[in-house]
């Protein structure tokens, strides 16, 4: 059992457990904190998969910015423990559980078939600098310059939209 296996189970198991925490905790604040923890575990997995820039981005943007916004809103609305949520099952929910289970089974079998049919593992050697800042930055500003510019417009729309929706008076 190599180091990679240990890390995979550590990060993967941690991600699944903390995501369970998001789903099951009664208090939304606990959900938010569990989500941050799961983001950190996933960042670990990204680093294992030679996506170093994305691992850093995951921590900086997701855990650092987006989740701070979530926690901020939770504090602003201040409804800490008052949630009384009864897990009752109506037909829609049963259907969604079934569809979810079906998707999971389909995905597991597809993933296994995918690997059985061709190369078992990743290439042992990666191109130098794969997943680093320089390589991704180069790709973003050459081949992917159009989506990159569109992201700028998208963020502008996000800002304007958020202000329009949440401002108290016109």
């Amino acid at each position: 059992m190599g180091a990679e296996t240990i890390f995979f189970f550590l990060f993967g198991g941690g991600a699944i457990l903390s995501t369970l925490g998001v789903l099951l905790s009664r208090n939304p604040i606990n959900s938010a904190i569990s989500l941050v923890v799961s983001f950190f575990f996933l960042a670990g997995i990204y680093a294992m998969l030679s996506a170093h820039l994305n691992a850093i981005m995951q921590i900086m943007v997701y855990a650092g910015a987006i989740m701070v916004l979530f926690v901020f809103v939770l504090m602003l609305l201040n409804f800490g423990d008052e949630e009384h949520e009864k897990p009752r099952l109506n037909p829609t929910q049963i259907i969604s559980l079934l569809v979810g289970a079906a998707l999971l089974i389909a995905m597991f079998s597809a993933a296994t078939a995918f690997v059985d049919g061709s190369r078992q593992v990743f290439h042992p050697s990666m191109p130098p600098g794969f997943g680093g800042v320089e390589a991704i930055g180069h790709a973003l500003l050459t081949s992917y310059v159009l989506p990159f510019e569109m992201a700028a417009v998208l963020l502008l729309v996000g800002i304007v939209g958020a202000v329009v929706v949440a401002k108290r008076r016109f």
Partner: protein, 577 residues
């Protein structure tokens, strides 16, 4: 490395750039406005923006279809014609909005800016050549529309509807992304045309040498971007492809997820639950925009997606093919949409359910397009239908907005009582929109429905000739479509009956808005003119489909030991004509 951005790149995305620029100009103008000043001139500014964008799209009609921006985007007949469609819908939405917003005390420039940005996203979405651009454009469109749906903050209904719409939309986006990720995993590329070519030539037989094929495809320019960083190892892109069935489950799962979420966005039954609430809860001009432009963009990009990436014979007609899926969705949408619309007491909800029914009619054409040997030119009927549908829908929502006053939303059928006499022009316009939606001549809707059903009959004929299984089902789809249209006539005529044959219950006074009158008149005139002289628009929509770059005509060729490369090149030339 060639230069970063070439002039043709900029020129070809001109409609998008113009819309973004106007969006920013509107935002800046808003900064210098004082509280309480009227912003209705911004409606004209935005309409000018849409007109400029449409004009630039028109100018680009002459440019030969090609890939731009490092194979990220297409400039072709299809993207330009659909850009005209989006610009029209956006411009009319801006025109009907100002008075409505003023009445609800929400007269702010951001509204127009968001409409402009959203339309920009739509234009990129229908011209996307790569899943990355497709996804970014989809989100640009959606995020602006989410904000617009909750735009009138004083309304609890709008807040609620906006949030539910947002949550469903985000859910659908996540599902689509997962599908894209799986397709990327199975094929190694996110380029739409490349996926289509790989699926067809790779899946046809395992005997094609993938690397050889890839180099040939690369010469054609379609795969240049997808080849990416593979220079070190050369064969990497195709490593897992062509080896046969191993990646097929993953691929099918991915495609299913992408198509399901696309169907979710167009609002076909059974993925329609969010739609009536969203359309009727949103402010009327936003409802108009969502029902017309957003739906048109979703349909047009679905056409592009199917035609480029997923038009392989096995994918369409195989045991899990999407033709079966669209067949049932079309049938269900027509049935549920029309039958539930009858029961509505709110005109807005009736329009929402009728738009589900319209989704069903368009899915009939998409089913026909994918049936049997597959004839992409039949997709032209969808483009034409979208034009007719957009004018009818924006017009009808526009009239509801026109009638809305500060304290009173005009929503119920009884609110329209007797208005045909008090506002003769308005009555005529509404009658036209309803006739068009019902598909009664001499309006645009009649020609549109005729085209859609004609497409299905043509596909039936071709299917019988080729001995495809289940061709009769296509004919059954046409018959049920016609029957359900007859059912639909009932609730459209109900509006006209209320307009002319019922006594008014309450005083409803129209908000005497100049821009709205312009917008509604444009829709009414277009509905009538297209109905009387459909020729030019029919040509335009046929041109849109025939000039769609990178389209993949579903050539299904069984190559035996080593494909003849000359043949391959010829097929690809024909495929991307």
């Amino acid at each position: 490395m060639s230069s970063l951005i070439t002039p043709i790149d900029i020129a070809s995305t001109l409609p998008f750039i113009v819309l973004c620029l106007f969006g920013m100009v509107v935002l800046l103008l808003e900064v210098f406005q004082r509280q309480g000043q009227s912003r209705s001139y911004l409606a004209y500014v935005s309409a000018v923006g849409f007109a400029t964008a449409a004009f630039s799209a028109w100018l680009l009609m002459g440019v030969e279809g090609q890939l731009v921006f490092h194979d990220m985007n297409y400039i072709d007949g299809f993207s330009k014609v659909t850009a005209l469609l989006m610009c029209t819908a956006g411009a009319v939405t801006c025109l009907i909005a100002p008075r409505y917003l003023a009445e609800l005390n929400a007269d702010r420039g951001e509204f127009y800016a968001l409409i402009l940005f959203s339309a920009g996203g739509m234009i990129m979405m229908v011209s996307a050549a790569d899943f990355i651009v497709f996804f970014m454009a989809l989100e640009l469109m959606s995020i602006a529309v989410y904000a617009l749906a909750a735009y009138v903050r004083s309304s609890r209904v709008a807040a609620e509807a906006g949030f539910k719409y947002f949550l469903m939309g985000a859910f659908a986006s996540a599902i689509m992304l997962y599908g894209i990720a799986l397709v990327y995993g199975a094929t190694g590329t996110t380029n739409l045309a490349a996926i289509g070519q790989l699926l067809s030539y790779g899946a046809a037989s395992g005997s094609v040498d993938p690397a050889l094929l890839l180099s040939k495809v690369s010469e054609q320019g379609a795969l240049a971007g997808a080849a990416g960083y593979d220079t070190t190892t050369g064969d990497l892109l195709m490593l897992n492809y062509g080896s046969g069935t191993a990646n097929m489950p993953l691929l099918y799962l991915g495609i299913t997820l992408v198509i399901v979420s696309a169907v979710f966005k167009v609002g076909a039954v059974p993925f329609h639950m969010w739609l009536p609430d969203a359309y009727s809860g949103a402010p009327s001009p936003v409802g108009a925009f969502m029902a017309s432009a957003v739906k048109a963009a979703a349909f047009a990009s679905l056409l592009r997606l199917l035609a480029l990436a997923f038009f392989d014979y096995e994918l369409r007609m195989g045991p899990m093919g999407w033709v079966q899926v669209t067949f049932f969705l079309a049938l269900l949408s027509m049935a549920i949409g029309n039958l539930v619309a009858i029961a509505q007491t709110s005109v807005k909800r009736m329009l929402a359910y009728s738009s589900i029914a319209h989704t069903g009619y368009m899915l009939v054409a998409i089913t026909a397009m994918g049936y049997g040997v597959g004839d992409l030119d039949l997709g032209a009927s969808v483009v034409f239908y979208l034009f007719a549908y957009v004018f009818g829908t924006v017009g009808a929502f526009g009239i509801l907005a026109y009638l809305t006053r500060s304290r009173y939303y005009v929503e119920r059928f009884s609110d329209l009582n007797g208005l045909g006499y008090r506002y003769p022009a308005l009555g005529v316009a509404m009658t036209l929109f309803m006739l068009s939606s019902a598909g009664i001549p001499p309006t645009a809707g009649f020609i549109a429905k005729f085209q859609v059903f004609k497409a299905a009959v043509i596909a039936y004929g071709a299917g019988v000739e080729a001995g495809e299984p289940g061709a009769l089902l296509l004919l059954a789809l046409v018959v049920s479509g016609i029957l359900f249209s007859v059912v639909g006539v009932y609730y459209y005529l109900k509006v006209i009956v209320h307009l002319y044959m019922r006594d008014p219950v309450r005083e409803v006074t129209a908000s005497d808005s100049g821009p709205a009158r312009v917008g509604i008149s444009v829709c009414a005139i277009a509905t009538l003119v297209i109905g009387l002289f459909p020729g030019p628009l029919l040509n335009l929509s046929e041109q849109a489909m025939s000039q769609m770059e990178g389209r993949h005509d579903g050539v299904y060729v069984q190559y035996e030991d080593g494909a003849p490369i000359e043949d391959l090149q010829r097929l690809m030339r024909e495929g991307s004509r």
